[in-house]
């Protein structure tokens, strides 16, 4: 008994004592009845025995009758069934002890007669109930004390006791106590025996429950040959029988067309609860199950050392159902291969015991057998289906499979089916398909002649028209054969439902018009069905792919800049495309960073690998690059910093990166390169040229790499093109060939940068399924003309870029250093004012225009579109004298729609506009 084994520890004395006493849980009904009956018979014997004993002792008849009355009276109470069990036991107890008292009394207190008490105490203990027991012991004490005082001779037969009745009552009670202890020990031992038997019964029942549950599951599964139903039944029953809150069955599927992949069913949780997660990965907690290394049962998985080992989630991903209790068993096939795994969870810890584990293991073995049956059955059915199809049709089918699975776009899958049908089987082909959440759409291939119109299938089905063959086929999931000619002669058509894994995707209709061209007959129904089955698989495949690919692109785009920043004098555009066939996120990225002094940082990089890890590394790199760049670090120092950041992260933490700082005023691009492809410069009038810079090691390759800076000159109108290897890499040719193709493709490109990027991407990757991600960033240094026009956001951040653009323009128009500085300060004052006083939230922009008059005067106007008030329109206190000192003329033109500040200054050495 667990209670006895438990160390008393610091528990109270009372509690410890209680451990050694009987529990007094009461007897099972049947046992109690047997014992009570024995006691009642004993009392009946006493009822008879007492008067006989009294007569034998020579008592007078009155006395005999009086002494004989109490016992039968109490015996009757004990035997009375209307009373509760305990009341009857108490009555019996009183009767037994009263018998003893009367016998002692009748004997005149003979000491030997006291033995009767001891026997009776033993008998009372048969009830294994504290109330009758205590009643009995109390009875002895009170009887000895009370009667001993009132009539000592009735209890005791020796002088000492007669003179000190309470003392002797105590002595008697001591012996009674000893007898009671002996009875208690027996009682306690009896209880343990009963308990043990109950436990054994319980265990036996549990065993039977497990065995019968498993038997039930086994028969249920063995009778089912539908794979989907089997796995769902396995999941449901296992979840129920293990007492899990939810369960999942992940299992591998082999398919001729699709290869191996993994599916799952759920129980106790809606599919949506898991739809946003990837399949479980080979983490330390999952791996043993998928490797078939045995059961994993954990009372609290969050405390398990194997838990939370792997990035990026380190435990359950956010939004996962809460799991504390965790149980997982492998489902292993007859050949020892792992078919899948059953996983159970419960939000509270310690929910799975050994029984749950045995249930899970048992169900797993049944599941393995059932799934094996399903597979054998399915392959047999497949064999039977193909046996019905003649050899040339088989060839057609295998050709169809190749065509179907060569595309991952649903529309081209449909086109592949319909053109195959019309070329090789029939006169026309109709495909009615259901887009999720939409009505049926139809694709028509081949010629629909007048004769064909006799077939009601040719008219597109209306929703709810139950008689239309297409709707019939979808509803019944059965092939429908329709014919307009006599005895099933043409015009005729086979309408086959395309049944996917979960739903009907539409119908495939194969139709013939003339007898002469009748290549399709009823005999071809198996071919049509097989074709429809394969088309359904291919379409589901394509839809799944499209969905996952969209997801990957969304994630990637969320990590790239939403829009490129506008920097005066520098234009930029970018394209990014996720590669196929994988659907994982790639690590390509680009960035444009406005720096101080109107300079611009431009970067394109590629993180090694794919998936979440690559994407998160890319995010970190981008942030770190921005931090270094804002800090004023040059390209070389920036790359060294990023390299240090990545080093020590292991082989998976590598990235290539080209980073440059474009200085519009100096007309330079200063580049450093960490293992990335060279930057291409496009200049009108000369061929595209790669700006070779010493290629450093990729970031993260060696702890202390250094990167050389190389400056290239840029003229107004020059475009620099940064890109990732997805643009130029092809499996069939070398990188050099790819770079050469890029050079040729950019020899003649549109001037609009967005179109330029699209055009370059199209020319290099068009027509092939790009296997890698691809990013292109194009940046142009705007040419300086005689007229300067800048539209700027009302944000102090634009001032640096604005000054750089104005500086370039002034220098190009012949301003000297002092003139440039002073006009810049004057412009800056005017622009600062425009920003401070710009109007409402809609028109948060201002415009700066500059031109040089034929007389050699520079005129710069700064216009805002805010409704200034008279007071606010003052150019700031210290600003005005500065402007006035630095220009020849200052005009302020206030209008309701905005204010224009015009600055005029003659240049000492202006280049005439004609020359500029």
């Amino acid at each position: 008994m667990a209670q006895v084994m438990a160390a008393p520890g610091r528990r109270g004395l009372l509690a410890t004592a209680r451990d050694f006493l009987p529990a007094g849980a009461g007897l099972p009904e049947s046992l109690w009845r047997v014992r009570h009956a024995a006691v009642v018979w004993l009392l009946v014997a006493h009822t008879v025995g007492i008067p006989l004993f009294a007569l034998a002792r020579g008592w007078d008849l009155n006395h005999v009758v009086l002494e004989s009355l109490p016992v039968p009276f109490l015996t009757a109470a004990a035997a009375w069934r209307a009373l509760s069990r305990r009341a009857r036991a108490v009555a019996a107890s009183l009767a037994l002890l009263t018998s003893s008292a009367i016998l002692v009394h009748l004997s005149g207190g003979v000491i030997e007669m006291h033995f009767h008490f001891f026997v009776m105490i033993g008998v009372v203990s048969l009830y294994q109930d504290w109330i009758p027991f205590i009643t009995a012991v109390g009875y002895v004490l009170i009887h000895h004390g009370a009667v001993g005082v009132l009539d000592p001779g009735a209890v005791y037969n020796h002088q000492a006791a007669v003179q000190g009745p309470w003392k002797w009552a105590g002595i008697h009670a001591g012996f009674i106590g000893a007898a009671s202890v002996a009875a208690l020990v027996r009682w306690r031992l009896s209880e343990e025996a009963v308990l043990e038997r109950q436990n054994a019964e319980q265990r036996l029942k549990e065993e039977m429950r497990i065995a019968s549950s498993l038997y039930e599951v086994g028969t249920l599964l063995a009778a089912d040959l539908d794979g989907d139903r089997v796995v769902q039944a396995v999941t449901d029953r296992a979840t129920e029988l293990t007492g899990a809150a939810f369960g999942a069955f992940f299992y591998n599927v082999e398919d001729v067309e699709r290869g191996a992949y993994m599916l799952y069913t759920l129980s106790g949780a809606p599919v949506e609860a898991f739809s946003k997660f990837d399949l479980p990965r080979a983490t330390p907690i999952f791996e043993p199950t998928f490797k078939g290394e045995g059961v994993v049962r954990v009372d609290d998985v969050t405390q398990d050392p194997r838990y939370g080992q792997l990035d990026p989630h380190r435990g359950m991903p956010a939004g996962h159902l809460p799991v504390r209790s965790y149980l997982a068993v492998s489902v292993t096939g007859p050949d020892g291969s792992v078919i899948g795994g059953l996983f159970f969870g419960h939000p509270e810890p310690g929910k799975f015991d050994a029984t749950a584990e045995r249930m899970a293991v048992g169900i797993a073995s049944h599941a393995a057998v059932a799934l094996n049956n399903v597979r054998r059955y399915e392959s047999e059915m497949q064999a039977r289906r193909t046996a019905e199809i003649s050899a040339d049709r088989l060839e057609l089918l295998s050709e169809a499979s190749r065509a179907l699975f060569s595309s991952l776009e649903p529309q081209s899958v449909f086109r592949a089916v319909s053109s195959m049908v019309t070329q090789q089987l029939a006169d026309f082909c109709l495909i009615d398909y259901l887009e999720p959440g939409q009505e049926l759409r139809r694709i028509v291939d081949g010629e629909i002649s007048e004769e064909a119109r006799a077939l009601d299938v040719v008219e597109p089905p209306r929703p709810g028209d139950a008689h239309h063959p297409v709707n019939q086929a979808i509803q019944s999931r059965q092939t429908v054969f329709v014919a307009a000619g006599p005895q099933g002669r043409p015009p005729a058509a086979i309408v086959v439902p395309m049944i996917g894994r979960h739903e009907v995707l539409g119908t495939l209709t194969i139709g013939v018009v003339h007898d002469s061209t009748a290549r399709v007959t009823r005999d071809d129904i198996p071919v049509a069905e097989e074709l429809a089955r394969r088309a359904a698989l291919a379409i589901e495949n394509a839809r799944l792919y499209a969905r996952q690919r969209t997801l990957a692109e969304t994630l990637q785009h969320s990590l790239l800049p939403e829009s490129l920043p506008k920097v005066p004098g520098v234009d930029s555009a970018a394209v990014y495309a996720a590669g196929g066939p994988g659907v994982e996120v790639g690590g390509d990225w680009y960035d444009v960073i406005p720096l101080s002094g109107g300079r611009v940082g431009i970067a394109v990089g590629d993180v090694v690998g794919r998936g979440e890890r690559a994407a998160s590394l890319m995010g970190q790199l981008r942030n770190a690059l921005r931090a270094y760049a804002f800090d004023g670090k040059g390209p070389s120092a920036t790359l060294s910093g990023l390299n240090t950041l990545l080093s020590g992260g292991g082989a998976e933490h590598m990235a290539t990166l080209a980073y440059g700082v474009l200085d519009p005023v100096a007309g330079t691009l200063t580049m450093a390169n960490a293992g990335h492809l060279p930057v291409l410069r496009l200049r009108s009038g000369s061929p595209p040229e790669f700006l070779e810079s010493p290629p450093g090691l990729p970031l993260g390759a060696l702890p202390s790499s250094s990167y050389q800076e190389v400056a290239a000159s840029l003229e107004g109108g020059d475009v620099v093109l940064l890109y990732t290897d997805g643009l130029v890499e092809e499996r069939t040719s070398s990188i050099d060939a790819g770079l050469e193709r890029l050079r040729q493709a950019t020899a003649d490109v549109p001037s609009d940068l967005d179109s330029l990027c699209q055009s370059v991407a199209g020319r290099l990757t068009g027509g092939r399924d790009s296997s890698d991600d691809m990013a292109i960033l194009a940046v142009r240094l705007e040419p300086v003309g005689p007229v300067l026009e800048l539209d700027l956001d009302s944000d102090p951040g634009v001032l640096g870029g604005m000054r750089a653009a104005v500086r370039r323009w002034l220098m190009a128009n012949g301003a000297d250093e002092t003139e440039v500085f002073e006009l810049l300060v004057a412009c800056g004052e005017a622009a600062t004012n425009a920003i401070r006083h710009a109007g409402g939230p809609v028109e948060r922009q201002f415009r700066l225009c500059g031109e040089v008059s034929p007389a050699g005067e520079v005129v710069i106007s700064v216009s805002d579109f805010g409704g200034w008030t008279e007071r606010r329109s003052e150019v700031g206190g210290r600003g005005l004298p500065i402007i006035e000192a630095y220009v020849d003329r200052l005009d302020v033109d206030r209008r309701p729609e905005g204010t224009t500040v015009r600055l005029t200054r003659r240049l000492s050495n202006a280049l005439t506009p004609a020359l500029a």
Binding site: S596, G632, L799, R803, G828, T832, I882
Partner: protein
């Protein structure tokens, strides 16, 4: 953006690049935190400044006032050739503290001049 070197008990604070309304905040907070507590004077060195406008002039006055409050004497160093000279003249910076074109003179001014 800001560089602090010491010459005796004079801190030479060198500002760099373009100073407009976007850079006055960072410069001011760095200025306050990077002057050593035992410094007696400060030279605000504008040799490397390529652009300064009214927001920068306002900052200069603030820096001078803040230094004064900390009982530091201040001078501004601007080389003869700097474009900034005209700007400082227009805005009368020299009425707030000595504007000096030589480094040694600027340090001396910051060490001695206490009477503004």
């Amino acid at each position: 953006m800001i560089d602090v070197t010491l010459d005796g008990r004079v801190a030479i604070v060198s500002l760099q690049g373009e100073i407009d309304m976007t850079s006055v905040g960072p410069v001011t907070s760095e200025f306050d935190s990077r002057i050593p507590t035992d410094a007696a004077g400060v030279v605000i060195d504008l040799s490397e400044v390529t652009y300064l406008d009214s927001a920068g002039i306002q900052m200069l006055f603030d820096l001078i006032r803040s230094a004064r409050t900390s009982r530091l004497s201040v001078s501004v160093l601007v080389p003869e050739s700097s474009m900034l000279n005209s700007l400082l003249k227009i805005t009368n910076v020299e009425q707030a503290c000595p504007v000096v074109s030589e480094r040694a003179a600027a340090i001396q001014a910051a060490a001695e001049h206490q009477s503004y």
